[in-house]
Symmetry: C2
């Protein structure tokens, strides 16, 4: 495979926001926030981070790769569980500091390490004016 | 209104991931990443950040408030444009470092400062092995 490189963001805001140049804005840690939704349902599955290497591998292989901030290593999501994410589309936002992956999840369709389909399995509710969490998805006993 | 405070995250991972305590994990800048989707369609609209004050105001008023990193100020989204975001639900993820707002956008339904419905109006395509952006939503001439 040829090396894939990413051009630094242009200073010109119009070029950044309306141009055809893909110039992802990696943060001071070299990471870009990545929102992952399920291509079949549009449902929000997880939010992760990519460095340039993970982004290049994702584009080149069509399988989502991330940077694990906790393990400080490249992370081919689902490599051990079988729940790999096949990428159907990648979008970026106006100022190119967020990516959006639309993915099909292989295996049993789980995206969260807790065993939940989506990492967003709890909703914030107000009880006596104070926020509490209510689970709306059963968590498997992992 | 009574002051709303947020408890620091517990050291115990099981409590953090499976408990009913809402303990948002603000980062070293005091911010939590917030993914915003449209309640009617599930479509991804934008990604923003909240500090504790913005989150408390959002919970108390039902209108989305953020922290503007560029302006370094509290930001009641849509206050001038009329495109305020009425919050239908708030979710958090397994380790509580991301929030998910499901919102109804008032006014003409625009969420992006470019005039686009969603900030995610461009898709990454590979052309001769190199990524390019293709717009899939017309941008108004703002």
């Amino acid at each position: 495979m040829n090396a894939m490189s990413f051009t630094p963001p242009p200073a010109d805001k119009k070029r950044l926001e309306q141009g055809a140049e893909f110039t992802p804005r990696f943060d001071e840690k070299g990471l870009v926030t990545t929102v992952v939704t399920e291509s079949e349902t549009g449902r929000l599955l997880m939010v992760a981070h990519m460095n340039a290497e993970a982004l290049a591998l994702t584009l080149q292989t069509g399988i989502a790769h991330y940077w694990s901030r906790s393990r400080k290593s490249l992370w081919k999501k689902g490599e051990t569980s079988g729940n790999m994410q096949r990428v159907h589309a990648i979008e970026t936002d106006c100022d190119q500091d967020v990516l959006h992956l639309k993915v099909h999840v292989e295996g049993d369709g789980v995206s969260c390490h807790t065993g939940a389909h989506s990492c967003f399995y709890r909703q914030v509710e107000l009880v006596d004016g104070q926020p509490r969490l209510v689970a709306h998805e059963h968590l498997s006993q992992k």
